[in-house]
Subunit: 137 residues, 2 copies
DNA sequence: TCCTACCTTGGACATTGTCTAAGTCAAGAA
DNA sequence: TTCTTGACTTAGACAATGTCCAAGGTAGGA
């Protein structure tokens, strides 16, 4: 994750304790926290960090392309630090668990020109839904 | 849409004026209103209809499979009455316009077994993102 | 060390959705 | 037709999530 901090400094980020702990919380694979969860985990390390700062920092990380915003359920958005490897999401309909998955092929290629209605289409997000092994038991 | 009302009666629905206007508002193709928009349009015909009833009715229509809930932006959910023809959505990143689209192939088939992690996968939702002709101009 | 533009904070506010208690009414029964 | 009853609707309080602002704090260059 210090790679991330280096990239951020390179982009002119002022490196504050608050931004550091938010970046640390988002370190790891298969991380899909809500803003509130990020705030709670960040507050474990830096108790006085405010909600506004967590929202600001997450928004900046998304703008910079370092983190992806995922909303699979219409509730709170989740923040996925795995932004540098294309992937889609598999969500359990019961417990809400999210897995990163890699379908074959390029979903963008499956949308024919006559189905694009003149749009400049640039991305395709796929959400697979099902029931995870724990919830099926 | 009277087809819909008939199906609902067949399922034991009590047919009230409120439910009728909500169903009427959702009549048509390429309809993707938010709950608030449905409420405003319903109130044009039945001014005293309450927000709670609109939410209740939309929730019931979703449970019955007559309407699909779409959340493309993490903001308000949208309600899509085109539930009986499989389709995906194409969203303009600038103005938020939504089009129903029909990609070729079955997106579910593109998720290999070893990428399912033991889930019983039952659906795939694809959101294509781009810029519509009006916004590109 | 100092300066200043950028950052953080607490809290008010906005949006979207849920819940409840009390009153109303659709539709079957008589 | 009228009656009855349980399902439906209502207003408004409440909850969850996110945004904004003015005031004060601080990272990092000079």
């Amino acid at each position: 994750m210090s790679d991330l901090l280096k990239r951020l400094r390179g982009r002119g980020w002022r490196l504050t304790a608050q931004r550091r702990v938010v970046a640390e919380v988002l370190d790891g694979d298969h991380v899909h926290y809500t803003a509130d969860e990020v705030h709670a985990l960040a507050a474990d390390r830096l108790p006085e960090i405010s909600r506004a700062t967590v929202y600001n920092t997450l928004g900046e990380l998304v703008s910079l392309g370092e983190v992806i915003e995922v909303s699979t359920d219409g509730r709170a958005k989740r923040y996925d630090p795995n932004a540098h490897h294309a992937h889609q999401h598999l969500v359990c309909a019961r417990c809400g668990t999210i897995r990163d998955v890699h379908p074959v092929g390029d979903p963008l290629a499956d949308l024919p020109a006559q189905e694009r209605f003149g749009f400049a289409v640039s991305a395709a997000e796929v959400t697979y839904r099902g029931v995870c092994p724990d919830c099926a038991a």
